[in-house]
Symmetry: D2
């Protein structure tokens, strides 16, 4: 292990994954370490001479695990001791099998389980399908099932875009009702996490579960399925539709139609309300006015990155997106800007918009320097309400005193210009369309849009800022306690 | 969480798994925590009120992981804080789905990969199949492939019995040669671990690999397969045979016949040599005389548990077994006696024999008290050579001095009788058949058979006691170094 | 790091420390790793070339930490990677400073703190001194303080023998009362652990604390002292006595005399009761008869090792000892036999007696083979009540059912003889004196004394087998709850 | 643990410690968690009811450990589970002893060790004293020893200011020579870390060591002292001087005078060179011109915070300071700005200057917003060379290619102004004095001074950017290898 020979890392790239297209950015690299949103594996190679030889093999395995080949996808962490970094991999150990792209393992479903799934689904009166991260790549099969079954549908941030927002199965605005009313629930690559009340019977009643995923983390967390299909979701869904043949679904068409009707009404009302949201008591623009302007300007295939505390709960609801990224559950705010930069480099043919609160922006604001230097064509929109607003409200309610969470409506556009980025500050809603158009044309660009801190988000109102003990929402927590006491 | 209500653990059993029959012993229990040979997952539930409710769910998940449902099987460790142990699971949370037996997930293979496997295998001139733990349950499909392909076969302790010892594909005695000569190697639920030279080209040459397993640990450790089938092994093998249809294998029949012939010759010679192994310089019996006597007395369907340092390397080779257990790689000696007790309770209709050295026996010798109290019908045979022999040799060679590793030929039969177990000490080889017969008839029983410490095992000779840096055997290590230097 | 040069571990000894005399056993070794009862430090040396050089330095530091030089004593754990074990320390790095015995650091007390301690102590009306592990070596200074102050005294297992049992300050039998009545409490090298109610005001009332120790673990755990002396205890105590000069103590002499009188009375009653303890309902001997016989036979300077669950709570109270070892808080039962073997080798001029229950003995019973082979002159006395009695009672009370905790009154004497150790089984109390005498004369020796499982220990009665949430005793727990609610 | 009662953290402050004056800032808080530069202890309280009660006690212990009361000072990490955060400490458990300021433990030295130290020191011909973090508070005693002994002296960043730069013992510019020439070396609260060649005989020759510290980390790391004094350094030094009485030191006065003479010469040359440092090939100012201007403007009692990669190695040498902070060994660059903000709030009566490279500044640049909002009167000076220069050089040498480490000479002054801070960009050396004066008068303020990336720092030249295997400097590493081979 001489000090003058070193492992060549020049062709190893470290990327944040915007979506499945991540592979496109890797074509110039031998190996990519993908920093994806969740944990898969810690594999710290042991000491000494063997290690130089293990480097390629461990990098290969790390890529496979990061991409979820044979398990749950997520970050793979490799820690190389200094002496290994200084070693050279012997030529004999540079086996081609560790460097070539391996086809991802495809799991076909157990026919018996498929049969049982069909029986359960085609007997359902009120079927609900919920997709998650693992459903990516299963779009056509998913549409086919929804249509054959006349089922209703809920997505999650990670599977946005698989089913278009205007598809008749989409009932996002009726989330609470359909979760309570469904008699059969299908999860596709979707954990029953806090967004789904952990699948609790307190919220889902006696609904029977069909669970479909290619990894156990998404297959049986929190609740076991009456039918469980450990298989590649696209194959599992296609097999179900094929096995059902021409059998007629038992879905209650009135129920589906009624729920869809209410969803459409609510969705329209929301957009309407956004467009006309009144300014705060301080006269500053409502954040929904900003989101409404972005809805109008951003193309349908844009990648939307949302970030923030209070503002995230506006943006999550107010911005449609074919591909969507945010800090995720238990994630750290501030990742919006770097996510957006990476996505704009990985997918140069799509518009990437980062919609972030000013508090969250501050965490990694200096990355605008990175964006300029690497010509990353990202559009960053800061909703500047001069506060970590969700903390301000929590401190007021919990401690009766605000400490260190009020900001100063600082001029982030001036900061952007200091780093050579197109930057504009916008204080009036009617100036937004033109400013957005100029920014889109001059990317990388930053718009610093002054909004009111007086607009309480749905999260602030419904209680997400103060999480109860058993369920993430006060109403669900109450239901959970009542149910447990039975 | 009152102190007077407690989780009922009366129906939760903790078992060591002898084999797949472990389920038989669990019928009286609500839940079984299976302590199997390898690590799967540490999941330490978090604090507070939620936890009482998570207990059943985590136990259910622990069982699924321990049994390898959707991943690599192995021990699942749950650590319940004291306040959780004192809590009562609310009635509402005792969901039937956590208590019922769930069908194990079955993974069907990707047809494209099957096609590529057939192409590779049916073009092979010298095909070798190697099975491992994950092949359990795939016996008929395995036999079918071996026959269609006219391939040769190597097993491992954990898959013993799937292919009978007298099957024409078995070439265990030619292990080294076939590993070097094969042009295609199929691993079925088998890691390329130290017993297989980590799959190194230094030993396997340019052989092309087909890897079949239902978990990534057995699918792609150390070497990537040219074809990889992530699927339930029985299904993967059956699909391959089916896809091959009537296509004729390209196997070099002369090669197969020659290797088999040499294997038969060696195997016969070994048994012959065992029967006639001469006593040591101290006049004491050779351990192979004991193993030869056991071969004659033990029925074909017996469960054999081998344990020890030096003695294990005799027993591993000298004792055939339909089911076989030993401490495993990186395992701790001494587990033989408790493994044997558990297996004899789990499979009361099969004879369970523990063949152990005296040093290893001493680790858990007091478990004979357990065997007597629980009437576990195990037969323990101690090969008593008055030493931790493999350590004695290592100390002599490495340090030139023996410290604390010579034992005293203690009378373990007298110890057994002190605990109410049938115990006999045997010092002459010709007394063995009758003593074995008496012990088999009076189980639990222990035979303390005095053997010579002068018989160096194959491991002691070939270097396992002093492991080289890169490969476990000196010869392989040399080959590895030569190959790396190329 | 050639494979043919190795670190010489022949002169590195691993010992269990019986007491401070451990150094005597080390004179033949270059370095000793002392396995003492508590954790000090994990220092896992890092990888590569530096490591060969760090070995001696880390061993030196490990010894210093294990012996408590500059911190709390306890086990030091070093984990050497295999390649380091195979390396040779370069001659230049074998610095004498890592191999020579370093004088232990001596800390002198802050004179201001001494002054404050004197003021507090010499104003006390009811002063209580409690010693712990850290007081070892401070015997004369401790006696001097007790006498000058006319204080009362409680010890702990680890500091047994510093103050003779017949010293007028000793009031062990009045532990509960003096803890409640004292107005000033001095801890000397003593943690306020569960045995001292964590120092809670619920038990100690408004007593003011003086804490003396040479490490922070014993100086300020759980409660802060009104005066804290971080200093070598012998020096701190001597400085206090010196600073007090001829000042008269304010101790209430009546209180001291009354408490001592009650202590004497109780202590006498206890011995009387032990000698006459009636047999169980099953006719078997009461365990106190065994302890009474040992009291008569064992010399005053003996090292006593007690082990067991239920039996430990009899032995801890019933056996006086100049040096005493048991599994300690959170310790593992079964250590009695190996502790006794090590102590008998470390202190060959003192009698070492292991008094153990049969359940605990079973954990490491095979070490009698070690004792015989290494001629360790230990006397092991097994109180054989055919049960893990404390578990039997817990299971009966908690689950209403006994599973796997009843043993079989096995013949441990026969087992001892099977390994060449003097062994006798004793079933009648009047045979004990002669049997003990024979065993003492024929060490290593084991007495298997059959006793009744019907005698509930004080722990079983007072609740140690079922530990409450806040304090280890039900009565203290009640007091704690009442006090917290105030 | 009701959800509506919560622990009151309003009076718990979290601070970064600038120096011992940290206590001044805490007077409004009940408890301070001091985030100091090194690790002391992780104490994660366990679960459940006890915990509410332990909160104050653990906070008290955390403060004691952070401040080094009875051990090495450093960060103390407490992790409170959510349910504990929501609990209220019962009134009975709010013991005053956990809230009051406890006097820090003072350790007096062992007189025997003092005697041995005097003997060694007063026989020395070439005595060298080296102070470290632990020497803080020992200034007068240190001066007294230096003068009585006529010894030479080296400090470290953490003990800057104890001995004035113009004291005749100071020979910082002759560091390498005195380390090699000294025959006795005294470390005072100073680790023998990489800055001191780990104390290796390869660099220190046969010098004999006296080590003085109040914690074992600084007492005996890497090398054992021939005399070791575990005591409060001020007391240990005073005791040594007192014990020496009027004994005459044996110091070689010629040696001391010669070394001091050379030091003065070099120091003068360095300042001269700084003032006249020529611009880079790009015409931009040399960073030493900036440092020279700061030397002239900054008062003697200023707190200097240095940060950066390449620039740090200029600033460490070029800026005198009564109190000095930098990222420290293994520290993370970027801490300069937040350190400076905290220091300016903790010590409002002293000027605080942060001298940072532009790369390091970028890590936490957004904290200028914090400085403005909290009116922290810090002066930040960015030496803007448009690069992570030390990485640029490393990449060029190691990989022959620069990736992502060239920056863009961004306008940090404009950024500062965007957040309401006084900001100026300076490109010419002769404009510095006036700009510095304006900035000092308008704090918080930032100067963005454009400097050349062409000036290689001493670290870049001597090899710190490429650390060898055994010693941090190439020259020392060579010496180490030669010495080991002897």
């Amino acid at each position: 292990m001489g000090a003058d020979h070193r492992l060549d890392f020049r062709r190893v790239h470290v990327l944040a994954a915007a979506d499945d297209h991540v592979a496109l950015a890797v074509d110039q690299a031998d190996v990519a370490i993908v920093v994806a949103p969740r944990h898969v594996a810690d594999r710290a190679p042991a000491v000494a001479e063997r290690l130089g030889g293990l480097v390629l093999q461990e990098l290969d395995e790390a890529c496979a695990r990061a991409l979820g080949d044979g398990g749950e996808p997520g970050p793979a962490f490799l820690d190389f001791p200094v002496d290994v970094l200084r070693a050279e991999v012997p030529a004999a150990l540079r086996l081609a099998e560790y460097l070539r792209a391996a086809p991802r393992s495809r799991l076909l479903p157990d026919p018996d389980a498929v049969e049982r799934a069909v029986e359960l689904l085609w007997s359902a009166r009120r079927a609900l399908v919920i997709s998650g991260r693992g459903a990516r790549g299963a779009g056509p099969a998913l549409l086919s099932l929804l249509e054959r079954l006349n089922a209703l549908y809920l997505d999650t941030g990670e599977s946005r875009g698989l089913v278009p927002d205007d598809h008749p199965a989409v009932v996002a605005a009726m989330r609470g009702s359909v979760m309570a009313q469904a008699d059969v629930v299908v999860t596709v690559g979707r954990k029953l996490d806090f967004q789904l009340a952990y699948g609790s019977p307190a919220v889902f009643g006696n609904a029977r579960l069909v669970r479909i995923a290619d990894n156990v983390g998404e297959l049986r967390d929190n609740r076991r399925g009456e039918v469980e299909l450990l298989a590649t979701p696209a194959d599992a869904l296609a097999s179900i539709v094929a096995a059902a043949g021409t059998r007629a679904a038992a879905t209650d068409a009135d129920w589906a139609t009624t729920v869809r009707g209410k969803h459409d009404e609510r969705a329209k009302k929301l957009v309407e309300a956004m467009r006309n949201a009144p300014p705060g008591g301080d006269g500053r623009m409502h954040p929904n006015r900003l989101l409404a302007a972005l809805r109008d300007a951003v193309p349908a295939d844009a990648i939307v990155v949302a970030d923030g505390g209070d503002f995230l709960s506006f943006a999550r609801v107010g911005l449609p997106a074919a591909t969507y990224l945010d800090p995720g559950p238990l994630g750290c705010i501030g990742v919006g800007t770097p996510f957006g930069i990476a996505a704009s480099l990985a997918c140069p043919d799509r518009l990437v918009v980062v919609a972030t609160g000013d508090g969250a922006f501050g965490f990694n604001a200096m990355e605008i320097d990175t964006a300029v230097r690497h010509r990353a064509p990202v559009l960053i929109v800061v909703a500047n309400n001069g506060a970590w607003a969700i903390e301000v409200r929590d401190q007021e309610e919990t401690h009766g005193k605000v400490v260190g969470t009020r900001l100063q409506f600082a001029d982030h556009a001036a900061m952007a210009r200091a780093f050579g980025m197109h930057g504009e500050r916008v204080e009036k809603a009617d100036e937004l369309p033109a400013a957005i158009a100029r920014a889109m044309a001059n990317r990388p660009a930053l718009l610093d849009v002054v909004v009111t801190p007086d607009a309480p988000s749905s999260d602030a109102k419904s209680g997400l800022a103060w999480v109860p003990d058993l369920q993430p929402l006060a109403a669900w927590d109450d239901a959970e306690r009542r149910w447990r006491a039975t």
